[in-house]
Symmetry: C2
Subunit: 118 residues, 2 copies
Amino acid sequence: MRIPILKLSHYLLVSVQVELDDQTALQFQEDLLNKIHNEGSLGVVIDLTSVDMIDSFIAKVLGDVVDMSGLMGAKVVLTGIQPAVAITLIDMGIKMQNVETALDLEQGLEKLQLELEE
Amino acid sequence: MRIPILKLSHYLLVSVQVELDDQTALQFQEDLLNKIHNEGSLGVVIDLTSVDMIDSFIAKVLGDVVDMSGLMGAKVVLTGIQPAVAITLIDMGIKMQNVETALDLEQGLEKLQLELEE
């Protein structure tokens, strides 16, 4: 199972609408980084609205994806983080520094555009 | 397996990146129509870039989805149709009248915005 990554102009959009098991999360990490490289993307919006909860492994992978994308030059905005997901991320000590958050995909995209125009 | 449907402002974005078997296609049809209804969407972009070929059943479902969405008041733009897909659609007598097409997701979204501004 692969999570689809949509290209829209200089950005990539991802909406996670499946349960994230370990294999899916790692595959997503690899796919996203490859796509950033191939498309020369400036930013990524990852929408987690449909994700009810995550375990510690997925939390780490998510944190890694944000850091890795940043290293490659793509700004990440996470959107729709639910309470249980926020709790797991903070409990795990994953501070998500340098990552913007927003309420939904649309606002995430706007935030990305504003940031990159600066 | 469900195909994720992303909501962006008044539009829905779909990028089909899995092989469309009969069950997946019918589930997609149902999900999309429900989402159009729930979100009050004005338009839908369905990106078929990753779809190499379709069989006659999937071609019919796709044609139906376009017609049904139109009935519900949402304009559909199909993008990234590959040669084999175009051949199957026409061979099946599915003319896709009233449906706009575009090269990729971005151009599809632009087309939709232009049309709806008119």
